[in-house]
């Protein structure tokens, strides 16, 4: 349903998206997982038809987003990163306006609006100006506005960022329902748990490139090999490098003024000895080991944590 081939987007000399390719099938939830600045929102912007690609192709339901933007947008629902509602208008009036942009109207649109507003849990607020809604309510209304025309493909840019747990859960449920109904769902997120809970397939993106892609099971299988050793404190970096050099398959992933992160092969039998030697370095404040997980895979691939 959504086909992305060699997609690139440049801003001057900066390549925000660099040759990204993936596809999202009907009924599938695909997650673009990456830290802030990885290129997720730019990719979503191009796929939504808001930005022109520098190179590559995006097709939605077989329609090229550049060549036939209106046909592609007609079957695409978009949930932007920030809540987008017309604050002076009520929830129902917002539905009436956004529905009319997709050629909907009359009793059918009114019924669909009422149904979705009730479904998302805003029934009691349907007639209230959207400007009086809480952040979570605005977010839910934004999702409703993307679903009015029953899109065959739904694109969500960080749909739950900054929301309370209840609203997050409600939006997760809604995304699952939309996918179950047969829509292709593409979402970007930097929440690992969200990606793990919702996505059938995940593309890990960093510096504008997809560096690993697969189903959750495939990614989990690949992370069995990686565990992370994290040291905090003002210790001598050269001593640590010397230590890492003695461990087969170990490498320094990330280093800053607070400490160093090292990837270790999970099969290593010397973990206890390594920990002991690391802790014996002067001025080490904290030593920890992260067991194999999606996060450890992510850090080993990108050298940085998702929250960064």
């Amino acid at each position: 349903m959504i086909e992305v081939a060699n997609l690139s987007k440049r801003y001057g000399k900066v390549e925000a998206v660099a040759g990204v390719s993936f596809h999202v099938g009907a009924g599938e939830v695909y997650g673009l997982l990456g830290p802030n600045g990885a290129g997720k929102s730019t990719a979503i912007g191009v796929i939504s038809g808001l930005l022109r690609p520098s190179a590559g192709q995006v097709e939605v339901g077989g329609h090229d987003i550049v060549g036939s933007p209106e046909a592609a947008k007609r079957i695409l629902g978009v949930v932007p990163q920030q809540s987008v509602v017309i604050e002076e208008l009520s929830a129902l009036q917002n539905c009436s306006f956004f529905g009319s942009l997709y050629g909907l109207g009359g009793a059918a649109l009114r019924a669909r609006s009422r149904e979705l507003i009730d479904w998302i849990g805003l029934g009691e607020k349907a007639g209230q100006p959207a400007g009086e809604f809480s952040g979570g309510q605005m977010r839910r209304l934004t999702l409703v506005l993307a679903l009015l025309h029953e899109p065959r493909a739904l694109v969500l840019d960080e749909p739950t960022v900054g929301l309370d747990p209840q609203t997050r859960l409600r939006i997760h449920e809604a995304i699952r329902e939309v996918a179950r109904a047969g829509a292709a769902v593409l979402m970007s997120t930097h929440y690992l748990d969200e990606a793990e809970q919702l996505c059938d397939r995940i593309g890990i993106i960093d510096h504008g490139r997809i560096i690993r892609e697969g189903t959750l099971a495939e990614l989990r299988a690949s992370v069995q090999d990686v565990q992370l050793l994290s040291l905090r404190g003002g210790f001598d970096r050269a001593s640590l490098s010397a230590l890492v050099g003695t461990i087969d398959g170990a490498r320094v992933l990330h280093e800053d003024e607070h400490g160093v992160t090292v990837s270790l092969p999970s099969r290593t039998s010397e973990l206890a000895s390594i920990l002991e030697r690391a802790a014996s370095l002067e001025r080490v404040a904290e030593v920890s080991v992260k067991p194999p997980s999606l996060e450890s895979l992510f850090i080993s691939l990108t050298g940085r944590a998702l929250r960064e």
Partner: protein
């Protein structure tokens, strides 16, 4: 044809019209102040308070005082009697007089002796323009008086002789009168004094009720023009907020062409400004009893003006996503265009070179056109130039807006 954005913008404006109503009130507040200042009877000529201290109390000094209180001059000069210069100083302090004319004792004698007769003019040091007007009027009258005195020098000499002699024969009086008559008859241009009756007759300009001048018709269109600029600024700020809050992006992600989005925005801006213009004109026309003269022409000019304003501000607000920057540029241009266009004070009062500038800027053309249409005058400005401005800026607004949202 469905216009979803156009309808949505109208619905939003009607739901929260507060700030726009405030902007719409501007011309009414200003016009009310103008009416209070000038009385609203159409006479916008300032009246100058002139105190007179008559130390001579003669026939000649009476003639001088009387000259200020007659005919058209009495509309300009508000003559006030003052006992002495101390009285004048108090009147100056209370700003009841802008100037004072002191007629010294012996003034009549000096005039009749054809000697050096002097009048003393004091001006109020607190005021700026009115004392200069008083100076001009007194100077003009003195020049005219000097001219008459030099023409009638001989008979005036005879009067002086009469006043100095102990006895006055009927023959001498008759000779003096005859001398006045003959001088008048022989003086160039004064032969018509036989049957003197000068009045001002205006040329028939073919318009209706031209003399029924309404001050509001002169000032109100310019003030409404200013209000249209401010309301337009408010609308464009709303469009800009929609852009920065990504509402416009969300609309672009729907199957609607960007050009159509911008066209509907411009259409809404024009329709809203036209509504503001019509409501203001109706309410202002009723309050200040502006005669419904030249409405068709005024309507065409107002429509062109609205297209120009919507296009200009649409272009400016498409230059940047900064409210501060765009508002500053727009406000500066608004003030410059409204002032140069005579929005606050009619351009007809300005020096010729400034009027020439006013007649080529769109606001000047529109304002002059509107005031002249509403007062039944000949339009006398290039309306095609106004239409070109309007068309150019309206199209520029659409092009710039489209570039900004895609």
């Amino acid at each position: 044809m469905r216009l979803p954005l156009f309808s949505m913008y109208w619905r939003r404006s009607l739901r929260k019209p507060g700030s726009i109503i405030l902007w719409m009130l501007i011309p009414f507040v200003f016009m009310a102040i103008y009416t209070l200042a000038f009385g609203g009877d159409g006479d916008i000529t300032p009246r100058v308070g002139l105190a007179v201290v008559d130390r001579d109390s003669s026939l000649v000094s009476g003639l001088v005082r009387g000259a200020f209180g007659q005919g058209e001059l009495s509309n300009l000069i508000d003559l006030k009697e003052a006992a002495d210069t101390a009285d004048v100083a108090e009147m100056f302090a209370r700003e009841e007089a802008s100037a004072a004319l002191v007629i010294p004792a012996g003034f009549a004698d000096s005039v009749l002796a054809l000697g050096d007769a002097r009048l003393l003019l004091l001006t109020n040091p607190r005021q700026t323009i009115s004392p200069q007007i008083a100076e001009g009027v007194v100077g003009a009258l003195v020049s005219m008086g000097n001219g008459l005195v030099s023409i009638f020098a001989a008979p005036i000499g005879m009067i002086r002789g009469l006043s100095q002699s102990d006895s006055m024969s009927a023959d001498v009086v008759a000779a003096t009168a005859r001398a006045f008559f003959e001088t008048g008859e022989s003086a160039p241009g004064l032969a018509a004094l036989d049957d003197i009756s000068v009045s001002i007759v205006e040329e028939d300009k073919g318009g209706d009720e031209l003399d029924e001048f309404n001050m509001a018709a002169l000032f109100f269109p310019g003030l409404v023009m200013f209000a249209l600029f401010t309301v337009s600024l408010s609308l464009e700020t709303r469009f800009l907020y929609d852009r920065t809050r990504k509402v416009t992006h969300r609309i672009v992600s729907a199957p609607v062409r960007p050009a159509r989005i911008v066209a509907e925005q411009r259409l809404y801006a024009v329709s809203f400004l036209l509504a503001v213009a019509v409501v203001s004109a109706l309410v202002g026309g009723i309050i200040w009893r502006i005669a419904p003269t030249g409405l068709a022409t005024a309507g065409v000019i107002a429509t062109a003006l609205v297209f120009f304003i919507a296009g200009l501000n649409g272009t400016i607000f498409s230059l940047s996503n900064s409210v501060r920057a765009t508002s500053a540029i727009s406000s500066f241009l608004m003030m410059a265009l409204v002032v140069v266009g005579g929005g606050f004070f009619p351009a007809e009062f300005w020096p010729e070179w400034m009027q020439r500038i006013s007649r080529v800027v769109p606001t000047g053309i529109a304002n002059l056109g509107l005031t002249r249409a509403l007062t039944g005058r000949v339009i006398g400005v290039s309306l095609p130039a106004l239409f070109v401005y309007s068309g150019l800026f309206f199209v520029a607004g659409i092009i710039a807006g489209r570039r900004r949202i895609t």
